[in-house]
């Protein structure tokens, strides 16, 4: 006997070929279909995939968007990123909560809706960003929150909500070679086959393309190492996890130039001898998935993906989209591969690196979305595509958000100064710029000569601007909380350290900070930077301490000049006792 619920889980199991590596994909589909993952479904999944039940629970506990208790029929997440705050996300969420009579994170009694918060949704230039049942809606200001509440109370199905809410446009503000590209579909593939692997790698080297995901590893070397690493299967992975708060250029690339990215992945596959590629797309970009899937299908239909690509006998390459389920650390390449294999996203021990021991232990190229897009341009047009007279070091997409007239995507030459970027987007009254996301570099307004490049202020794309109306301690606390929330918890310095840092930031923000707290944070920072297992823990303590260095005023306003203050608030600590005594005195 199969109940209705059974049917859903069995359908998903079949869709994913009962492959245990696809367990996360199955769980995510169950979550979206039924607002949570039912205990009975967990049993079925565990049994069918021959996995211990605890492993399934472990996945549900690890990924933010999976739950084993029911969420509301409308499951709503507001982006908690600082730029969304600045655009009023907290106020909109409060309106929605009040109108629906719910507390954040707790479903309404009749299970109608849950209003919750999540890390950056990647809609920074058009915030406040919101996800409803996994689908993105932008610009949820107070007015839209009221309208949303009315729709929810009326039980209006999502399909009947105003269509324009779901149209996520991309504010492309300045175009360079990539955003102007008009190459013919398949041109890069044809030329790559003509050039051969050596030729493609030589052109990437001549162009000087380096990874656009933040670390800046030379792309030609990555492809070359992978190509020469042993015999057997190898894989191409496009890192579309884009979790760094303030970054949204991958979203725009996949949205408008998706084919270019796919073309770049195909070129990579042909060059390194891989037959299979994955796009690891973050959960928040579900709205892009269908479109991408259609594009993949069109390319299969026209012979640009699949077997014997473009009619070249023996050249096979296909791409599958795999979704994340809410974890920033899964953007780290080895954690991403773990997640792709259906596990918790814990960064692996390195060495060995994915380029020799990646997906299923095979040599794997993991590149950022933008890296593949530029690689396609270079494969089609030669190194000159990337490197021209006015851009000797190539190009970079910037995601500019925060306090400026024209937030959006800017394609700028590598080495553009901060001042030039500020001018381009019309930023005035600038107090600070956070380059490269929370773990990046905080610059004060006078540091306009700093360059945006791997050698100076490095950025994977994030460029957030704060004017003088902003409280920089608030900004730093937001970043510190982000890291504490996203730490995978694997290693001691980060798991405990991010929580300690968040507690201390809160203490200071509440006006209970003292000099010893700062000293302790500085010591912790050194430990976390030196001993953490991956980039998250290594940079988690940096924002608050850089803020202290560069904007001491923000701290001084909330701190008396004393050496020590208690770790907890005594009044709060006796509240429970007071309450009980009062109750007893009444009765």
């Amino acid at each position: 006997m199969t109940s209705e619920s059974d049917a859903v889980v069995r359908e998903q199991l079949a869709a994913y070929r009962r492959d245990p590596r696809m367990v996360l994909q199955i769980l995510r589909k169950l979550q979206l279909a039924q607002n949570h993952i039912k205990a009975t479904d967990i049993d079925i999944v565990a049994e069918s995939l021959n996995l211990p039940r605890t492993k399934i629970h472990a996945l549900i506990d690890f990924y933010s968007f999976l739950h084993n208790t029911p969420r509301g029929g409308y499951d709503i997440y507001f982006s908690d990123s600082i730029t969304d705050h600045m655009l009023g996300s907290r106020e909109s969420a409060a309106v929605l909560c009040e109108e629906l009579g719910v507390e954040p994170g707790v479903p309404e009694k009749d299970g109608l809706a849950t209003v919750d918060f999540t890390s950056c949704t990647g809609l920074c230039e058009r915030g406040p960003g919101v996800l409803v049942n996994g689908i993105a809606i932008d610009r949820v200001d107070i007015e839209r929150a009221h309208e949303m509440a009315a729709l929810i109370r009326a039980g209006t199905p999502l399909e009947d909500w105003p269509l324009e809410w779901f149209v996520i446009n991309d504010a492309i503000r300045r175009k360079g070679p990539l955003l102007n590209m008009t190459v013919q579909r398949g041109a890069a593939i044809e030329r790559a086959i003509e050039l051969g692997a050596d030729g493609v790698i030589a052109e990437l080297e001549a162009a000087g393309l380096r990874g656009c995901g933040g670390a800046g590893f030379p792309t030609h070397r990555k492809w070359d190492i992978c190509r020469s690493a042993g015999a057997g299967e190898r894989y191409v992975i496009c890192n579309a996890d884009e979790g760094e708060p303030g970054t949204f250029k991958d979203r725009a690339l996949l949205n408008c130039e998706g084919c270019n990215v796919i073309e770049g992945m195909t070129v990579c596959g042909i060059t390194i001898g891989a037959r299979k590629g994955f796009i690891y797309l973050r959960h928040e970009y579900e709205f892009l998935r269908e479109r991408l899937d259609r594009r993949l299908q069109r390319r299969r239909d026209s012979g640009k993906l699949g077997r014997n690509i473009c009619g070249h006998h023996g050249i096979h390459f296909d791409i599958e989209i795999v979704m994340g389920a809410g974890s920033y650390v899964c953007g780290e390449e080895s954690a991403l591969i773990e997640s792709l294999e259906g596990k918790r996203g814990i960064p692996r021990i390195r060495p060995p690196f994915p380029v020799t021991h990646g997906y299923r232990g095979c040599p794997t190229v993991v590149n950022n979305v933008e890296t593949f897009a530029y690689a396609a341009g270079i494969a089609a047009d030669g190194p000159g595509f990337f490197k021209q007279d006015d851009a000797k070091r190539g190009w970079k997409l910037l995601s500019i958000s925060g306090d400026c007239r024209s937030p959006g995507i800017y394609e700028m030459p590598v080495g553009t100064t901060v001042g030039e970027a500020l001018q381009a987007c019309g930023a005035e009254d600038v107090q600070a710029i956070q380059v490269g996301g929370p773990g990046g570099t905080l610059l004060a307004s006078h540091e306009t000569e700093r360059e945006l490049s791997f050698d100076d202020s490095n950025t994977g794309g994030s460029f957030m601007i704060f004017d003088h109306s902003r409280d920089m301690l608030d900004v730093a606390q937001n970043f510190t909380d982000f890291f504490a929330h996203e730490s995978c918890g694997f290693c001691t310095p980060c798991r405990v350290g991010t929580k300690l840092m968040a507690n201390m930031a809160e203490k200071i923000a509440a006006g209970h900070g003292a000099r010893l707290d700062i000293e302790q944070m500085q010591r912790l920072n050194k430990l976390m930077t030196q001993a953490s297992h991956c980039g998250l823990g290594q940079s988690a303590a940096v924002p608050i301490l850089t803020t202290y260095e560069k904007f001491p005023e923000a701290f001084r306003q909330r701190m008396d000049d004393v050496e020590y203050k208690p770790a907890f608030d005594v009044e709060a600590a006796i509240e429970r006792s007071r309450q009980i005594v009062a109750e007893e005195a009444q009765s």
């Binding site: 605890t54 506990d61 690890f62 310095p493 798991r495 020590y564 509240e575 429970r576 009980i580």
Partner: protein
């Protein structure tokens, strides 16, 4: 590859495929570690084994040895980082050694001793994780788990049962049991399984075997005398006229007076001591209030109610140097066992359900102090200059620390006098 690596200047050989940690263990060179175990694949999570290898700070248990590698391990810089890691693990869980069945046989405790951890400087997280006592022979006290994943590896790789699993993330990490009910009793874990024997701390412990080894004969009781020489902070200056004595006061908060008793155990040496110090408020002379200015204050016991807070704050104001004495003052100690219990339940247990209570009612008099949600160490309420761990600290430790101060040195507790229980 085989060859030699250099650890702190000593040249040792390594075999094909060995990590720095394995080579060091084989050569008898100790690198602190918690999650490494020779029988299992490295995990690389505790970061206790962090060394500077060819100039970069990395985990030695996961770094393959290569010929000519230069490893720096035993430096104060690295040891102070390891000490901070131990402190983090202590405050993350509920590590109150005096009430722990595993005390004396615990690897975390031993590492912390060896690293000279004499203080817990971070505020407690007061974990309230579920204890699983369902199994007839084995107890799982999750509050002490340090997530070394040794049980996970042992159950999977040696026992072939795969019974343990790490769940969650960040500070909400957990340890789950793979059984129908999620309980240990239904898991098929047996006392002889490797997983039941591998836990380095008092998280997976065997029932009915606690405290069977007497103190002094436990795994890590035998100490070679070896001074850590760690001076965590500088001594506030006690300006004295020639011949003027150092004044000492003591006070007890939520404690058992055992620390005071231990202090008195310095016996006849007290005669020698009073040549240099004079006692202010203390049980020795039964003075109940402290002078306005005292040089050294010793505090026993944690902070459990508003009265403790007032007493402690006043005491801090009077004392130039404040020393937290004993496990209760340092971490909350035995009274902190109540921290996972709701305040109402506590009050009802004491004033209503307790045996022999006449006229059961929760007192509501305004004059009575309120109890805090958690029993806290004193450094969460006032600034503490030094810590004297132990439950109680040995008399020799009191002797040592007071002598240090009298002679103008920052107190420095040697390894053989450092105990947490």
């Amino acid at each position: 590859m085989t060859g030699r690596i250099h650890i702190d200047g000593q040249s040792i050989p390594f075999a094909q495929g060995q990590t720095v940690m394995q080579a060091a263990e084989d050569a008898g060179v100790a690198i602190p570690h918690l999650c490494y175990h020779p029988d299992y694949e490295a995990n690389g999570s505790c970061k206790m084994c962090t060394c500077k290898i060819d100039g970069r700070q990395v985990s030695s248990c996961t770094t393959p040895a290569t010929d000519g590698m230069v490893v720096v391990s035993n430096t104060e810089e690295l040891n102070s980082e390891r000490r901070a890691l131990a402190q983090m693990l202590f405050i993350e869980g509920n590590h109150h050694c005096p009430s722990c069945e595993h005390s004396g046989n615990c690897v975390l405790q031993d590492q912390a001793y060896k690293l000279g951890m004499t203080a817990l400087i971070f505020p407690n997280f007061t974990a309230g994780r579920e204890t699983d006592a369902s199994h007839p022979d084995i107890l799982l006290n999750r509050d002490r788990c340090i997530y070394c994943e040794l049980c996970v590896r042992a159950s999977r790789d040696t026992d072939g049962k795969d019974l343990f699993c790490i769940t969650g993330r960040s500070n909400n990490k957990g340890l789950a049991i793979n059984s129908d009910t999620g309980l240990l009793k239904d898991s098929g874990l047996s006392v002889n399984d490797a997983a039941a024997n591998v836990c380095p701390v008092g998280c997976i412990i065997k029932k009915r075997q606690a405290f069977t080894k007497p103190i002094g004969q436990r795994d890590y009781d035998k100490r070679q005398v070896h001074s850590n020489k760690i001076s965590p902070s500088t001594l506030p200056e006690l300006v004295k006229e020639p011949g003027e004595k150092v004044s000492v006061a003591t006070c007890s908060l939520a404690g058992c007076f055992g620390c005071h008793m231990s202090f008195l155990d310095i016996d006849e040496r007290i005669v020698e001591l009073v040549e240099h110090i004079e006692f202010d408020r203390s049980p020795i002379n039964d003075i109940k209030t402290c002078s306005a200015e005292v040089d050294i204050g010793l505090v026993e016991g944690g902070v459990c109610n508003t009265e403790n807070i007032e007493t402690l704050r006043e005491f801090r104001r009077s004392c130039k140097v404040l020393i937290a004495v004993g496990a209760c003052a340092m971490s909350g100690g035995v009274p902190a066992l109540r921290n996972s219990i709701d305040v109402r339940e506590l009050l009802e247990e004491s004033y209503i359900d307790n045996v022999g209570v006449e006229n059961p009612q929760i007192p509501t008099d305004d004059e009575l102090p309120h109890i805090l949600e958690n029993v806290s160490p004193i450094h969460e309420v006032v600034k503490v200059d030094f810590f004297l761990p132990g439950c109680p600290p040995p008399a020799d430790a009191f002797w040592q620390i007071l002598n240090d101060i009298v002679e103008g040195r920052a107190p420095d507790l040697p390894y053989d006098l450092t105990y947490y229980d």
